[in-house]
Symmetry: D2
Subunit: 251 residues, 4 copies
């Protein structure tokens, strides 16, 4: 159960998100948020909260299907580029081009060469986006193996979540260590100065939603910002650079 | 406040919607729901409930912006056609081509000739869609003048609903009677055997949501249908043909 | 070989086409030309001449591939509608929705029901387009069985026309009579007052190109029209209604 | 007038282009040709010859209009990316992203900052495309000031070329030196090892078409290549790196 205090805080954060969007529209800013994380890490729920009170016209959530046969032969980033934000747009990618560094690598959906090309090209690609004044913010939602198991089990039993079940998430537990390794490699090699990764401890969904939104707001400038609200400590979110990846902090 | 019984019923209805979607996907059906109604009649909230537990991949909500300069010269239905459902898709139009019979007519955004052409062509157009096995279901959400005023006033005060305010809804109350007349004309002339209108008394949002979803489910066939749940009386929804439009039942 | 006189006439006709396009752009007209006909009837060459001196920006040639798996489940006309002309546009469909009444019927690519639905819906669809001020002009290029054989044979030997060879045109001769029957049915049943068919005797390509362009220009109004040029007799083009389809005039 | 020998040679080259396309389709290659050059340098005519006998289905000519208001705020390369070749495609850009280094810079359609960002980003962008196995070939068609004047004058008098006249080409002669400077800067700074520039002396159109096609074919591998035909000297085409840009060889 969400506490009254948390509900009140979320309400205040929603108001800040609305102010942020007003600023984005008024100043012609371009915001692009990438959400990555294992199956059941909480991406869908986070999207839901981020957009709950935003104007649908200037907000876009992009969750691409797997590429069709033509797309698999295109320049890898091509199918993503058409969804990039133009002026005034607030865009969230629920999974992104980092698929190649995660599920595609682990499940063998791309070749080693494609993986290595990606790890090289993604730096060039994101640098260009940032040069073009896109504010790119990357979150990795992290959960423990035990928590993932619990959520996937719950999902299977819940008649309202049947559509979420895919053949791939059946393998999430089995390939846990491979996913960990792929994640560490990704966070280590694609944490750019111009586009850093933030790792979000997502064991507790409600707490995580509050912190992620607070963190996002604190990164950006907008009119009438409620600095007091955003000044609270953040315990669940860390730039990847201060984490010791070697020690596999997030299991 | 929503009662516990209503919450429980909504939960049951959500499960039925999931079953319906499973049937749509499995049988390659094509479902198209049009939601019309005045500003603040409750369209957004209805959409939210309809899709809350559906698979995003096979569900689409279409809320088109006003046409751009090229689109205004196209065949009127052209910009809508690309969003029609293919096999397995559950599509909701939040406002639709009926804009021309409502806001465009009342606000003078189309010529008389365009209006008359539309009233003629819409029959041909919808007949073709139905011939092509699209299940087309049209709901008109109806509210009283007083309730609309209350909702628009609330909206203006709510910091989370600022984006909903448009110059047009400021005129909703002023042009109340014109909108009533346009609605009556529309319901009278576009209530086709192959695509009838259902008028939904929307004064009470929560009650309306329950009934609309129950009504929708009762119209369609799908596996493991919970007939008992759907057998309850519907008091808020009526086919337009049994209403006496002359008497302006819905103010 | 093309005679000097014919070359000179074609040059004059090109100038008229440019004037026509200028009128279309200036007056915001919408022109849609459908070219139908058997394999090797001369559609590609006709398109080439029509557009040779037109502004590419306001001219569009649409030659759709066969529908992909999603498209086959859509409303039949859907994939065509996005290519309809907006104001100022000169659009040519090289084959069109009439595929269903021709190759699809003959080769069994659609069901009988789909064929019958099409024959019914096409009247509604074209009526709507015409209501929406699209000038719709339909040409059927007709050739004899012998001439088709000659052209297909030439094509097979020409190293520059290899790409034109398809498995379907190998069956063009074999199914000659079926195509004749399908054509007669189509011309008979889809020759609408608002969108008549013109049958073009295409045995002689060069003569046909001259007449088709002259005929097209004579149908339309535009500034500085060269009436003298367009007043010559047309011997190769006839409205379908004056032909006696029963007698199978075009073999 | 084109000599008989040149006509015969062009015919042979067309056959080679058809073989090349067959190889592209069979091997799933991706070919992207950029054509740049001043107004009236001969880009349209070159495109025409390149595609004359190719299969339209696997060939694409991309000539983008100026960006609309949304596009001007996007990532600069975004509107180009959707037209990049997938496997089996032969794509020609008639003008390209290099607009920013040419007409946009000279006519002041972009800011200095946008220009400098472009000059930096284009290296990253093209490197990525090449990493993704797109064969990128860049031609700059060069003409003298006198020849351009002659062609623009002819164009103005030719009733069939009216649509080619734009307010911008009226300034082509006036800004000749600015365009020269912009061209030199572009050729100097964007001649990458992975995507070099070839400068084509285009004073004589017919001669240039023959050489450009021969050059293109000689760069690529394909089955049944006619090495003898392609072994002739090329006098009009040079890699930019062997030209002494300082001396302004191409006026």
């Amino acid at each position: 159960m969400v506490s009254k205090a948390d509900k009140a805080k979320m309400h205040e954060l929603y108001i800040e998100l609305v102010k942020l969007q007003r600023e984005i529209i008024a100043s012609g800013l371009k915001l692009l948020i990438l959400l990555e994380g294992r199956d059941a890490a909480g991406k869908d729920g986070t999207v839901k909260r981020l957009i709950k009170h935003l104007s649908p016209r200037e907000t876009r959530v992009v969750a691409l299907n797997k590429p069709d046969s033509r797309e698999t032969t295109e320049w890898y980033f091509q199918r993503y580029t058409e969804h990039l934000p133009a002026a005034g747009e607030f865009v969230i990618f629920n999974r992104s081009w980092y698929n190649r560094a995660g599920v595609e690598k682990v499940m063998g959906f791309c070749s080693d060469e494609q993986y290595h090309d990606f790890m090289q090209d993604v730096a060039l690609f994101e640098e260009m986006l940032c040069n073009s004044d896109i504010m790119l913010i990357k979150y990795y939602l992290d959960i423990s193996k035990k928590e993932q198991k619990k959520r996937l089990d719950d999902r299977r039993k819940d008649p309202l979540k049947q559509w979420k079940i895919s053949p791939i998430d059946k393998k999430a537990q089995k390939h846990w260590d491979d996913y960990s390794e792929a994640r560490d490699m990704m966070l280590d090699r694609t944490d750019f100065n111009f586009a850093p990764w933030y790792v979000v401890d997502s064991e507790n969904k409600d707490a995580m939603h509050l912190e992620l939104i607070q963190h996002l707001l604190s990164l950006l400038e907008y009119k009438d910002k409620n600095e007091v609200l955003l000044s609270g400590d953040l315990n669940l979110i860390n730039p990847v650079r201060i984490l010791d990846l070697k020690k596999d902090l997030y299991q």
